[in-house]
């Protein structure tokens, strides 16, 4: 009799787990990207349960159409088990209806019906694309923050030779990311932020560090301090210097740009406050979907933002033309040796 009870309990659990309501959300959970990204239209869907977030082609960075609730429909005949997931987005430019019809576990047909009501004169259109699922199972509901593109005007830049970050062979973005992070850790840089560059690559922004006139970091805690500390007044000469001379400051931020896109400076020069915001507002790591993406022809450029403070009471100003070369900055920061950089 006890065995019969066990069999019935197991059967009931099995039946419960195989109900369509469980299966239908599970089948679409994840990040879906178009196989051939359209010039205009839907780029990416991030689905978790019936919640879905969509990203749209915009320049310079993809637009977030927002989060909405979709509905699952069984397609007749019901016995076929096929379903469609329909969601409607209402961005500022109009309305986008998205119909996702899964073909198998990793591929879906995505139909998009776009209606413009923003008075721009653009024609409404319908579009059908094949989307593939990335393997992060919906972990990207918070989208990767985009790096300002084009990047703010820098002081100097350096195209890193293959072998330091990129290898010249197709590798995943995650591999490049790990190499940069490993070098940052080796140089005792413990804080950075990462950003997506369009749909193509990523950027890592290091923390603002205080440096001397030779590009070497200031010793100890002074390296990361921007707030004036008490002056070094251990001798009369130092005291008189501190009394009559300004305490100048030199700082830098290094942004590593891994992308196949041409890197062209924007019109606006960087300022220290903006670079500090970039450090705070980015992610520390790449999402799995980005890590797994294999890049064929990316380059890694180091953009150096050098700032100078003429006195303790003045703001930091971007140095437009520095006496320090980018290799002096990169080697001075302890990231690579000069000979490695000039290979």
């Amino acid at each position: 009799m006890r065995y019969i009870f066990h069999i019935i309990t197991v059967a009931l659990f099995s039946a419960l787990l195989s109900t369509p309501s469980f299966a239908q959300s599970e089948v679409l959970d994840g990040t879906w990207v178009g196989m051939s990204p359209a010039a205009e239209g839907l780029l990416r869907l991030v689905i978790r349960g019936s919640e879905v977030r969509a990203f749209w082609t915009c320049r310079p960075n993809p637009c977030d159409l927002g989060l909405t609730i979709g509905t699952f429909y069984s397609l007749l005949p019901a016995s076929s088990g096929s379903r469609a997931f329909i969601a409607t987005f209402t961005p500022v430019f109009g309305e986008v209806v998205v119909i996702v019809s899964p073909r198998n576990a990793t591929e879906s047909q995505v139909q998009t019906y776009t209606r413009y009501s923003d008075g721009s004169g653009r024609a409404d259109f319908a579009d059908t694309q094949i989307f593939i699922r990335l393997d992060d199972r919906g972990s990207e509901l918070q989208p990767m923050p985009p790096f300002p593109w084009p990047p703010p005007k820098w002081t100097s830049r350096y195209l890193l030779p293959d072998g330091l970050v990129t290898s010249g062979r197709p590798e995943s973005l995650g591999t490049f990311f790990d190499r940069i992070v490993s070098v940052l850790r080796k140089a005792a840089v413990e804080e950075w932020s990462s950003y997506a560059i369009e749909n193509d690559g990523f950027a890592i922004v290091s923390r603002l560090e205080s440096i001397d006139d030779n590009g070497r970091p200031r010793p100890g805690a002074q390296r990361w301090g921007t707030r004036a500390s008490a002056e070094n007044v251990d001798s009369l000469k130092n005291y008189l210097t501190a009394l009559f001379k300004a305490r100048t400051g030199r700082y830098r931020v290094i942004a590593f740009i891994v992308t196949s896109l041409p890197v062209v400076a924007g019109a606006e020069p960087a300022d220290a406050a903006r670079m500090n915001r970039l450090l705070r507002e980015g992610a520390t790591a790449l999402p799995e979907s980005m890590r797994a993406r294999v890049a064929n022809s990316v380059r890694c450029e180091a953009l150096v933002y050098e700032f100078f403070q003429a006195s303790a009471d003045e703001p930091m100003q971007l140095v437009e033309s520095s006496h320090l070369t980018p290799t002096q900055h990169l080697a001075g920061a302890g990231l690579w040796r000069v000979e490695d950089l000039r290979q």
Partner: protein
């Protein structure tokens, strides 16, 4: 009569104290301005200097100039008021100079320290002003 002192002599002593004190502060600030201590914010540093010393200095120099045209021997002032005036003046000027000389030991920037120094300089400057008023009001022919 014992508690009275010639006004002209008191005024000269007060003027000496204030002129020497202001000269020291002026030269310090001049050296710092030339040395680039304040960068492009030099005007802000001098804006602090002017209200810190100039009002009191003007009163004293004006009083000395006024008294010089009169018979100086006949006019006297209260000894206690004079001593208090000169004591507070010395204390105030030393405080201003110390604020400037101690800045390298502070974590505040020079202009921040100047702004904050009004907290301790303002009340003492007020007391100096009151005491000078008492001193000048105590004059008798």
């Amino acid at each position: 009569m014992k508690d009275r002192v010639p006004l002209s002599r008191c005024q000269r002593k007060l003027a000496d104290v204030w002129l020497v004190g202001c000269a020291v502060i002026f030269l310090l600030l001049l050296g710092q301005s030339v040395g680039g201590k304040y960068g492009s914010q030099v005007e802000k540093a001098w804006s602090w200097f002017i209200p810190t010393v100039l009002p009191t200095l003007s009163v004293i120099v004006g009083a000395v100039a006024y008294q010089a045209r009169r018979d100086p021997q006949r006019v006297t002032a209260d000894r206690f008021a004079f001593r208090m005036s000169i004591g507070l003046s010395l204390f105030y000027l030393i405080l201003v100079i110390a604020t400037m000389l101690l800045q390298p030991f502070s974590r505040m920037t020079p202009l921040e320290l100047m702004a904050v120094s009004n907290l301790w300089l303002g009340p003492v400057q007020g007391l100096v002003g009151i005491m000078l008023g008492v001193f000048f009001a105590s004059r008798q022919s």
